[in-house]
């Protein structure tokens, strides 16, 4: 059935394209992506479909490393004018570090933008211009839980932090690990702080702006301090797995999937790894937003997927824009959701979720259905994120440093990043 729709859409798009541009010579576009297997699979499927409908365009995929090394590759290639015609990179604060106004092509006028989610557009914009189109679905940051344990102990999904802690005590009393923590992979330690941002902005609506302008600090904003406080509270209550200091991200996924642990705070991109490594346990894993103080203000902190950008130095901007338009179309979205595990709701209007999504995804959907129950993570509404947060949260979670001192330390780290970015007011 989907094949028929695809063929229909493809021919429609083809007619539209040939109508605008009567004839053109063969073009080769280069397309730089990261080497994550999910990314590669999705990019290859998109390229294949696009080449089928536009036979005179050839797209060559190049791969690069992820993480800090990948950041360096992108920055260096942009700076030297060696960037591919189309490239994939993070949205939000990392995009801002590329100085998009100077280095990228404005994609506001790409037709498919009409159906792209407004929230996503805001995280790929600078000075009112949209520089990217989404590559993938939205993600949530919160807490994975083991549904089998919840059922066995008769627990219900917590709407407040107090309920969450009460659940934890019951799980601990039942002789199970309540919260999995995995500090071998230090980045996993940040979740309690980062995923609490919905609650921060619910309490202090202008936190992001004041924080960017050097007016609001973690240490002096009680709502922002809560993330650090909660981490310490969970550590002090002895709810962690015994080997939390040495366990890895994969251990954390195994624990929450197989019921060794009841909770694992994580981003929903982990659903892909869960499906790959623990397919028989996927139905046991549920998801909820990190609860705050008030049950009536329970909402989800959202992470945005990476985006497709075009460097201003490209010589094939028009062709590249057409490919970007295809990626952002309903058809492009369908190709991606068919290839990869869905990690959250699609960001293209009219692109449906596949029927067989795992419970962790369906658990996210109610938050997106009501306006105001989601908020982008701080790194998408402010260009500044301190690089040492993961070490600081490891310290708090291990009981080495208290939350108050940790917040002061993090504010210092943030100041350093702001200065490097050359922001005014710092």
């Amino acid at each position: 059935m989907t094949i028929h729709i695809k063929a229909y859409l493809a021919s429609a798009a083809l007619i539209a394209l040939t109508a605008i541009t009567p004839a053109h010579a063969e073009v080769t576009l280069s397309f730089l992506i990261d080497n994550n297997p999910d990314t590669v699979a999705a990019a290859e499927a998109l390229v294949e479909a696009y080449q089928k409908q536009t036979p005179d365009v050839t797209i060559e995929i190049e791969q690069r490393a992820g993480g800090g090394e990948g950041d360096n590759i992108i920055k260096t290639r942009l700076a030297t004018g060696e960037m591919s015609d189309v490239f994939l990179y993070n949205s939000g604060s990392l995009l801002q570090a590329l100085k998009p106004q100077q280095t990228l092509v404005d994609l506001s006028d790409v037709p498919a933008q009409a159906k792209v989610d407004q929230g996503f557009k805001s995280v790929v914009s600078a000075d009112g211009k949209v520089y990217g189109v989404p590559f993938g679905t939205a993600m949530g940051g919160g807490i994975f839980y083991n549904r089998a344990i919840y059922q066995e102990l008769g627990l219900s999904v917590p709407k407040t932090w107090a309920e969450f802690m009460a659940n934890n005590e019951k799980i601990k009393a039942a002789g199970k690990v309540a919260v999995a923590q995995t500090y071998r992979d230090t980045w996993t330690s940040q979740l309690f702080v980062l995923a609490d941002y919905y609650n921060v902005q619910a309490a202090v609506p202008n936190f992001a702006e004041d924080y960017t302008n050097n007016k609001a600090k973690y240490a002096t904003t009680p709502a922002a301090m809560k993330g650090f406080d909660h981490l310490k509270e969970v550590h002090d209550a002895g709810l962690f797995n015994e080997d939390f200091g040495a366990a890895s991200y994969d251990d954390g996924l195994r624990m929450v999937a197989t019921g060794e642990a009841a909770h694992y705070p994580m981003l929903t991109f982990a659903i892909g790894a869960l499906k790959q490594n623990y397919p028989e346990n996927l139905a046991d894993v549920g998801f909820f937003a990190q609860p705050g103080d008030d049950a009536t203000k329970n909402g989800l902190t959202v992470w945005m997927p990476p985006a497709i950008y075009i460097p201003a130095a490209s010589e094939k901007i028009e062709e590249a824009k057409k490919f970007a338009n295809f990626v952002a179309s309903v058809e492009g979205c369908k190709i991606m959701t068919a290839i990869n595990t869905v990690q959250g709701p699609p960001l293209i209007d009219g692109c449906p979720l596949p029927a067989d999504v795992p419970p962790a995804v369906t658990d996210m959907l109610p938050y997106f259905k009501t306006a105001g129950l989601t908020a982008p993570a701080l790194e998408f509404v402010s260009p500044i994120k301190g690089p040492a947060l993961e070490q600081i949260t490891v310290e708090v979670g291990s009981g080495i440093r208290g939350p108050a001192e940790a917040a002061v330390l993090y504010d210092d780290d943030v100041r350093k990043q702001a200065k490097q970015l050359g922001l005014s007011n710092w």
Binding site: K75, A97, A246, Q391, K416, Q420
Partner: protein, 292 residues
């Protein structure tokens, strides 16, 4: 070291023989060193460098973890260097004596030197796992609750230092074996005739005469310890938190975060630190040697 040569004793080789080496040295060593001093004074994002004076150095010294990382670097360097010297000498004395399977044992001691540091780091990280690692499982079988070797913040640095000892002691032993072999057996013979005990022979003959080897081992292992990075990064990444951070790992993290100017300043500081420690030490060693 280089003394002004009298004019008459002109070298038979023309000066431009020296040119290729000078160009390579200049382009690959002198120029980068000079530019790194410049970039340490800037806020640098690889495309633009804004001159900010000594701000990077001020920032580096106000990093709360920097003071700890400096102390950690010194602890790590002194500890690994001291242990390698003592253990290396004892092993060398043992392995130059008349013992069973001497050649085989020498190979065994030297073997860890040949293995990749990262490989060793990953292997020991697995072995030092607090609950599943072989070390704590073995201790548990004896009824001892093993500590979190790499997860206890006050223990992590020492655990890594011990692994460094295991890895590096073979090289120290090799240098000492060479040093011991150079000592003439006449001295020992004479001492034995005079009725010196084994310990007296070691104290009065071996120790003073193996001094050049000792100097080499101390200097090399101290420099190695001060700039040590790979093993620490493979095993703890400076963690938990910042508790096993050394100067080199702090610098690396600044680079990863994109603070290129700041990390260059860190390298300049590390350079100054090594010079400040090694220069007086080697001057002192050399003077003692001459005085003898």
């Amino acid at each position: 070291m280089v003394q002004p040569r009298p004019r008459s004793q002109k070298s038979p080789c023309p000066l431009w023989f020296f040119l290729p080496a000078a160009v390579i040295y200049g382009v690959f060593f002198l120029a980068p060193t000079a530019t790194s001093f410049w970039y340490s004074l800037t806020r640098w994002d690889l495309t633009t460098a804004e001159f900010i004076g000594l701000e990077n150095f001020r920032q580096f010294f106000s990093e709360p973890f920097l003071v700890q990382s400096l102390v950690n670097t010194l602890i790590y360097a002194v500890m690994t260097s001291g242990l390698k010297t003592v253990c290396g000498l004892l092993l060398a004395v043992l392995l130059t004596g008349n013992i069973f399977a001497r050649g085989f044992l020498r190979t065994v001691v030297f073997f860890p030197v040949l293995v990749s540091t990262i490989g060793i780091g990953i292997t020991f990280t697995v072995m030092m796992h607090p609950t599943k690692g072989i070390i704590n499982v073995a201790l548990g079988a004896l009824g001892i609750a093993g500590p979190g070797w790499l997860t206890n913040p006050s223990l992590a640095l020492f655990s890594v230092a011990l692994v460094d000892l295991w890895k590096g002691v073979g090289l120290a032993t090799l240098i000492f074996i060479a040093g011991l072999a150079a000592i003439s057996t006449d001295y020992y013979e004479a001492a034995r005739i005079d009725g010196a005990t084994r310990f007296q022979q070691f104290r009065r003959i071996t120790l003073p005469l193996v001094r050049p080897a000792t100097i080499t081992v101390v200097t090399l292992s101290l420099i190695g310890g001060l700039r040590s990075f790979d093993l620490i990064w493979a095993m703890t990444r400076g963690g938990p938190g910042f508790s096993s951070d050394v100067v080199a790992s702090v610098i690396y993290k600044q680079y990863q975060a994109g603070f290129y100017g700041l990390s260059t300043a860190g390298n300049v500081i590390l350079f100054a630190l090594i010079v400040a420690i090694i220069l007086p030490l080697s001057l002192w060693f050399n003077r003692r040697e001459v005085a003898q």
